[in-house]
Symmetry: C2
Subunit: 714 residues, 2 copies
């Protein structure tokens, strides 16, 4: 594991070490000393003899002991020479703090490439550049400008120093949790997100990975590692730069590519990542997921000492897809036994003053509710922690006892409890006790609900997980040699676009049922072909020079008689000539008119971050006006394809709407998987559009296909 | 103003006064004394002589001085007798704390009605029952169990004591704001939400009204007052009970009707109310709106000391519909003059370390940005307030100076500033100073963005406001006598449903173009009518006993020839007979087949809370599967109708989709207004459905109309 040498480095050189207290090169050494780094520190500055009592070296290669990692605090342009010197020394890694690289445009990108190249040549791995640094909290290797980050089991990966500061501050003030590592990922010039993920996946001291991402260079590899990681460690991620302005802002910040938000979000979620959209929820979600067992049955109880909080929580949890089932009769009877008559015991449970004089009743209620087999977790909301403050001091002691009891309950029943307390900011001891037992406490009811929500989301992912399609397939191997011929022919003719009938041939080769076009070169041939068609015929011009066939009058539909076919043929050829008299006209394609059905659209394209992706949606206005589509990164399994079909809002239409017969959903899912196979088989495909596909009660018809190849490499 | 006597009461009797410290009847007196109520206090308890040094009375009517208001802390069943006694004394109002009324079902509701009736008879107005009480913070009349609520200019109306506690706690801990009044509205047995609103609208000490609502008894009157109030005082409202479980929870809590969420939300927003969905945002939104001028041009600048916060803020503000325009060239040049070269000056502005050694640069940047004519407000995000903590103590003093400068700036330019600070919870003096100048400070970036969002939302409402349609119309007066005859005829026949052709007649009477059905009693008549039709004809059964005409084979379309019409007539009659041999068959309606166009649906119904409402959407799957509809409370003006049409997601389809000609949007708007007129004219209408209406390039066709009357009153 190459990163281990760097992230667990036992010796560090500080290039740009300084005696000036305002300089990073001073602060870094100060911090390492203050936080008692367990390894060796070597300041590097040719102008100084000693800094903070440590011997100073002229250059890294002068150090006569091993150096695992180097922190470079000098300006961008000095970096390549320093790396050359580090190479001589045999340094494993370098943290490059300076900005002024890719994020500043073309000139900076050139320097960044130069740095990456120099590092590779010298076998040095790079964190950054343009990074706030990194911290290993286990051996106190603190190479970030941040003091006093709490130690714990969450690994933190961010592209913003301020977001790191935000999350660390929150951990300190509002939790008992902390971090195993912190890495400011910066511009990803060398080490990429997925490499850090691979390291944390294997690190025994890390239980959850918390990420703030502006853009990723290798989204595809990241997803591969995410699939593996989320099976035993949750990943919690906020991706910013969704909006146009946000994207621009990212540009000037880390120089990363801000991806298409919808694609990124669904790709992340399919890999089991918990995607967070509000920064307030980011750390709490990581706290909950790293502390508590996930909820596998989606079902939660709410316990509150006031109807208002109970009602708001019910609304929020419902929005998050959490179920709030009625408690069993037995549970209800037990609750009635200890609560006043005005209490509501169905779910939400409202104690209606039943805890005012004895907050221990909370623990009793919690036990009764958690014993209910239908309940997977518990949200407690309201004043707990504040009874001692609000009513009588002795109640504080009863609350502490209740905390101990509830804390042990979580372990015993293997079901999570999350608490909202109005008095969290007053920091009563009872709430700190709960946190000691891994029960998170939030002063925000919204945040507490979200945390229940992510436990349900993660539990649901784990439950529905079945070995995902691997990322390399060997499908369609038999069809491939024939398919390749079609692409070669097009290339030979200098085309990047397949003709419609060529596209259909590819689909048919792979077993996807594109209606077979017959090429007719004369009206006579067209008539003869049409005769064999059961029902109406369609005629379309075939010419590599005519892409938008309908627009130039190159398509005629609903042709029934011989004379209709004949005159359609002639009109089409005439129209094509009129449009472009030099057009290379191959003839006219004759095909059966598709039966009625529901229109769907399938499209694939190359995404900058995730490689080949696929889009699906119901045709016409649903895609074009209402943007009701779903995405996946390719390849996809049958299960993933089914999910894509099911998650469009218009899915009920396929199911048979208002008494009309259901459409052949299996055929659609099968076609999505076939498309995945085709994209896998022919890496030369840049874009493939099946539009429209008409889905019948049984089977489907692929009416039109457009395949565009990647430009040939010079 | 009747409520003034109560909410500004100068004397109060406590019925159920007690020496037991755990009783509400003790705590109430203790609180009045502690908080130095400026008026007189009269404990009432026949078993005691003195409580807390105050003379105790046997009953209210024994008190020999005037009593403005009574706090009743005794159980529900005692309330009617107490009210009778209060009546003798001439008390103006009573606060009824006890639960056990309407929220507990039928028995409780009976008691509640009894209480309301007794109060009315005795000229007493009631707050509650089932209320946490009320507070007047101006004269310290504190009749709620809450201590130490800060005084200020926000009026608080809630249906949850715990939500009141939440909001008051937040005000105390996180702001310098406070409250003018607090009222726990409870079950609204007597005084309704709108009456409180009327009072606060006129109260000179209230600048904003903050509401937590579970359900309202008189939503319609509330909206009328909201329209008036929001013109000079913002109303900020959270409505819970949206989800099914949430609704059930409300049921057991306040016994109010939890309304259809979509209807309520759009009704509130059309009245200028700021509807909040996250409880975390409720108080902050009120703080911002009561402290700062609204933003009228939707355009905001973001100023941050880190790219991460800037990017997240840009995403969130974009989601909220806030614009983040590029700063003018002049502004950019000025910013470049004081910031380091790495700074981003377009918008968001990222100071890129330019404030690290001198946070006063923030104030300088703020001034430059606020001077930009395109910018209506400023969001500052990041570390301000923490430079003194994070870097060097002397910076804290510079931050304080910057706070004074920025504070005065808000007043000078009349543009709001809102601050997010990571260090808010550490409470540095500089942040308190900002609050003193009415610049709210939040530790949550999400909340800070939302607060900018509500300033934009409110500014936008005020800007686009034009005198709303009054709530009483006199349209359609000429048509009404004829229309009434139709309803009377149906009643006379014992029907609650109009026949389709009767419904169309009503529409035609009011100038809405429903295609005229001709009633044919014989095949001959049908053929003769069809002859005069230009294009195809449609035949439909006419029978009060057959509602679902298509289902029984009672409709035939696309009829072209005489023989088609003749056989269609006979089939229809046969089918109807087969369905129900005793059906009252009036004949067959003959009408022209509608031309092609876009289908829309219009429906009206009576809402429990808001009275008559109207729904609009594009027909078929868009309404039924994708629920893409808009609502309004009736009546509506032309402008409101236009808004309804524009706010459906499928609106682009009407505008002309993919080169097809635009549909007649004016005709749709006109029809919505006509529907409003019809509902106003005939209060007997319970429900009216126009489905489908086909909108053409010019004009529209109302194909089917169903009008259901309210059940006749026994």
């Amino acid at each position: 594991m190459a990163l281990k040498k760097i992230l667990d480095a036992e010796s560090v050189a500080i290039v740009g070490a300084s005696k000036n207290e305002t300089k990073r090169g001073f602060q870094a050494i100060r911090t390492l000393l203050d936080e008692k780094f367990e390894g060796k520190i070597f300041p590097v500055n040719p102008k100084e003899d000693r800094i903070l009592g440590l011997k100073c070296y002229d250059k890294v290669s002068d150090i006569n002991e091993p150096v695992d990692i180097v922190l470079i605090t000098t300006p961008a342009k000095t970096v390549p020479d320093i790396l050359e010197d580090c190479g001589k020394k045999g340094v494993y890694g370098a943290v490059i703090v300076a900005g002024g690289f890719g994020e500043l445009g073309r000139e900076g990108k050139k320097l960044e490439d130069n740095v990456a190249e120099t590092a590779r040549k010298n076998n040095i791995r790079i964190i950054g550049p343009n990074t706030s640094g990194m911290i290993n909290l286990k051996n106190s290797l603190n190479l970030a400008g941040l003091h006093g980050a709490p130690k714990g089991d969450i690994a933190l990966l961010t592209q913003s120093g301020n977001m790191a500061l935000t999350l660390i501050t929150e951990a300190k003030i509002k939790s008992r949790k902390g971090f195993s590592y912190y890495v400011g990922v910066g511009n990803e010039a060398d080490i990429k997100f997925h490499e850090y993920l691979e390291f944390f996946q294997q690190d025994p001291d890390t239980r959850a990975i918390l990420m703030y991402v502006e853009g990723m260079r290798e989204g595809r590899k990241f997803l591969q590692w995410a699939y593996k990681t989320t099976l035993n460690k949750p990943i919690i991620l906020l991706k910013s730069g969704r909006s146009t302005t946000g994207k621009k802002s990212v540009g000037s910040h880390t120089g990363a590519l801000a991806g298409i938000s919808e694609v990124a979000k669904s790709a992340f979620e399919r890999a089991g990542i918990i995607v967070i959209e509000k920064s307030d929820e980011l750390f709490p979600a990581a706290e909950a997921l790293s502390s508590l067992p996930p909820i596998k049955n989606k079902s939660v109880a709410i316990l509150a000492d006031g109807g208002g909080h109970a009602t708001i929580a019910a609304d929020l949890l419902t929005d998050l897809g959490v179920q709030i089932p009625e408690l069993s009769e037995k549970t209800q009877a037990r609750l009635k036994g200890i609560l006043p008559p005005a209490a509501s015991v169905v779910n939400p449970v409202d104690v209606a003053g039943g805890t005012d004089s004895d907050p221990a009743v909370f623990a009793e209620c919690a036990r009764i509710v958690l014993k209910d087999h239908n309940i997977g977790g518990l949200l407690i909301g309201g004043l707990f922690g504040g009874y001692g403050i609000r009513f009588s001091e002795t109640l504080a002691l009863i609350e502490e006892d209740a905390s101990h009891i509830m804390g042990k309950m979580v372990k015993k029943y293997g079901k999570p409890i999350i608490l909202h307390s109005l008095f969290s900011s007053v920091k009563p001891h009872s709430l700190d006790l709960l946190r000691y037992y891994n029960i998170p406490v939030y002063d925000s009811l919204d945040v507490a609900c979200k945390c229940i929500g992510v436990l349900v989301q993660y539990g649901n992912y784990l439950k529905s997980y079945h070995a995902k399609a691997r990322f390399v397939f060997n499908w369609g191997a038999k069809a491939k040699p024939e398919g390749i011929k079609i692409f070669k022919k097009a290339r030979a003719e200098g085309r990047n676009v397949l003709l419609e009938y060529e596209g259909k041939e590819i689909l048919n080769l792979h077993g996807a049922p594109a209606c077979e076009d017959c090429l007719a070169k004369t009206a006579e041939e067209a008539v003869n072909t049409a005769k064999n068609i059961d029902g109406d015929a369609v005629l379309k011009i075939v010419s590599p020079d005519i892409l938008h066939k309908s627009d130039i009058g190159g398509v005629r539909v609903k042709l029934n008689t011989e004379s209709e076919v004949r005159s359609a043929f002639e009109e089409i050829i005439q129209n094509a000539r009129r449009f472009d008299e030099d057009a290379d006209i191959r003839g006219v394609a004759v095909s059966p008119m598709a039966k009625e059905g529901i229109e769907v659209i399938i499209g694939t394209k190359m995404d900058d971050q995730f490689g080949p992706i696929i889009m699906y949606g119901l045709g016409g206005i649903l895609v074009e006006v209402l943007k009701d589509v779903s995405f996946s990164v390719l390849p996809i399994s049958w299960a993933a394809a089914r999910k894509m079909v099911e998650e469009t809002k218009s899915h009920p239409i396929l199911k048979g709407f208002r008494g009309s017969a259901p459409s052949d959903e299996r055929a659609v899912i099968g076609l999505l998987v076939k498309c995945s196979e085709i994209i896998e088989a022919y890496p030369e495909i840049q874009e493939m559009d099946l539009n429209p596909v008409i889905v019948h009660e049984k089977g489907l018809t692929i009416v039109d296909v457009r395949i565009i190849m990647k430009p040939e490499r010079g």
